[in-house]
């Protein structure tokens, strides 16, 4: 018995370290309300967890009695989760807005959210899936609501209400699915879904759709995207950045795992996915066109990006999944980078309007340059990382015969160019006027540097990332 647990723990050390570190941070926070100690401890925790993650081998047997799996697929997502937390931490350090109300609790919740994120991609059991989603959601609501102002509270409330409904619907779907299959573990589910679907065709499909709603909500898939702009706008920028990347990535991981479990139903589900994929990117892009607030613009941009990511799922092939993961990694860097730029601008100008970017090339050349890099990468211009991701995604769609999706994606890329280039236009083509030069913030520049370097380097030399994707063998 304890042998099983010990074995299981061997694969789970990163999460254990993260949880323990979070508790320690929480404790120290009680003593030093505003000191640097919690922050340092957080970094130590993250470092230790990352180190543990490097030591974690890919195990084929599922730890904790099969409740979770620590395969190559989840390993990548765990890295994404850790990376997101780390970059968010950097941005928090740089953000005056957050530092003003930053407390140990904040950091602890952030670290614990990391545990939730990792669990999401490891989940191999309906309960674990639900639990981890709730874990991430609850910490998300709290992080959004943390700043001591009405806007944050309002955003948190909205986020909470939408999220609660979505997860409740999902739970209900899970209950129905269980009722028709008598299976809670994913492998078991995979075996029993076929007979169940034969016996209760409508019931199973309904259950699956209810179940997918929760995940669709997390990845801001249209029509479950409506919370996104409000929550991002309300949240402090670093948190918005985190929400735009980490839960989304984890939800994609879980979604893929779910769908590979429900593979026999894919034929029935894929029309939904292909149409919603097109809808998501189109709507995200079109609405982003009309935005004048940088946070909202980025929010809609992330919706559109989710649409691109969904292509990987729509394709339903191993290549598709690999492309999705590749794009997620790219997305991690470029989206965080874009948010980091926004943090720098919003923090120092106090304005969330796009006009705050005016003349940035003279006010903060390095920042502007990095920002261009991220925007171009988001727009999918080679040789940046984002392009590589898109290249694979489009290729996967074509390979799967989803020409319509690929064409829609291409048209959307052209539309999206408008609002990305619009920011570039403001930064470089417009004169700064009265606006002040920006002061460089070291932590932020570190975050920017890391993201920019990754965006450029992996764009030029993607083969290393591609080799990480090799182990992914999930098929929908």
């Amino acid at each position: 018995m304890s042998g099983v647990l010990l074995d299981s723990l061997a694969a789970w050390w990163p999460e254990v370290i993260l949880s323990a570190g979070a508790l320690v941070v929480l404790l120290t926070a009680v003593w030093s309300k505003r000191g640097q100690i919690p922050l340092i401890l957080s970094w130590v925790t993250l470092g230790a967890s990352a180190w543990a993650l490097t030591q974690t081998g890919v195990s084929s047997n599922a730890p904790f009695f099969g409740l979770i799996v620590c395969d190559g697929f989840s390993l990548l997502f765990r890295w994404i989760a850790l990376g997101s937390i780390a970059i968010t931490l950097l941005m928090i350090m740089a953000s005056q807005e957050v530092r003003a109300s930053m407390r140990g609790e904040y950091l602890a919740i952030l670290l614990l959210m990391g545990v939730g994120l990792m669990l999401m991609v490891e989940a191999n059991h309906l309960l674990m899936a639900y639990l981890s989603i709730e874990f991430v959601s609850l910490s998300g609501y709290l992080l959004v609501g943390f700043p001591d102002n009405a806007r944050a509270a309002e955003g948190a409330l909205k986020y909470f209400l939408f999220g609660a409904l979505a997860s409740a619907v999902m739970l209900f779907g899970m209950s129905l699915l269980y009722g028709m299959t008598d299976a809670l573990l994913f492998p078991e589910l995979l075996q029993k879904i076929q007979p169940a679907a034969a016996a209760f065709p409508q019931g199973v499909l309904l259950a699956v759709i209810l179940l997918l709603v929760g995940l669709a909500f997390k990845i801001s898939m249209v029509p479950f995207h409506l919370w996104t702009p409000d929550a991002y706008e309300a949240a402090p920028m670093p948190v918005a950045a985190l929400l735009s990347v980490a839960p989304k990535a984890a939800a994609f991981g879980l979604l893929i795992r779910f769908l590979s479990t429900l593979a026999p139903l894919w034929q029935d589900l894929y029309p939904i996915f292909s149409s919603l994929t097109i809808l998501t990117m189109t709507l995200g892009n079109l609405v982003a066109l009309a935005q004048t607030n940088i946070k909202r613009l980025l929010a809609y941009s992330t919706i559109a990006q989710a649409g691109y990511l969904l292509i990987g799922i729509t394709a339903g092939t191993p290549i598709g999944v690999q492309a999705l993961v590749l794009y997620l990694i790219a997305y991690l860097f470029m989206n965080f980078g874009a948010f980091a730029c926004a943090v720098a601008v919003v923090e120092q100008t106090g304005s969330e309007s796009l006009d705050a970017f005016r003349g940035l090339s003279t006010r903060a050349p390095v920042l502007a340059f990095a920002c261009v890099l991220f925007l171009l990468s988001l727009a999918g211009i080679p040789p940046l990382f984002g392009f590589m991701g898109k290249f694979f995604l489009f290729g996967a769609a074509l390979q799967a015969g989803q020409t319509l999706v690929a064409v829609a994606a291409v048209i959307n890329s052209a539309i999206a160019l408008y609002y990305y280039v619009n920011i570039m236009r403001l930064m470089f083509l417009q004169s700064a006027g009265e606006a002040q030069a920006l002061q460089p913030v070291p932590a932020l520049h570190l975050a920017l540097g890391v993201c920019a370097l990754a965006t450029l380097f992996f764009g030029l030399f993607p083969s290393s990332v591609l080799s990480w994707l090799g182990p992914i063998r999930l098929v929908l």
């Binding site: 509270a153 909205k158 607030n293």
Partner: protein, 99 residues
Amino acid sequence: MTLRWFLLVSHALFCLGVFGMLTRRNAIAMLLSIELLLNAAGLNFVCFSRIFSNAQAQTIAFFVIALAACEAVVGLAIILSLSRHAKTVFADEAKLLSG
């Protein structure tokens, strides 16, 4: 006595919860509706656990209760925060966000 009737009840609870979510303007009232939703799901799990004689499904209902508590706590905290800042508990009256 058949499963169908239990399911009817749970579905009814679920849909009433949804109805509440859609009609209640007061955030706390919406919180109440969420509890209804979760209960409906819990009831389902217990029903099915009974059918399949699966103890694990029952424990899920247990976890659901715990998570419902967490949600209620977080939701209330947010509502309190909002009421302190915006002096309202009406979900659609908070209008600082522009969308």
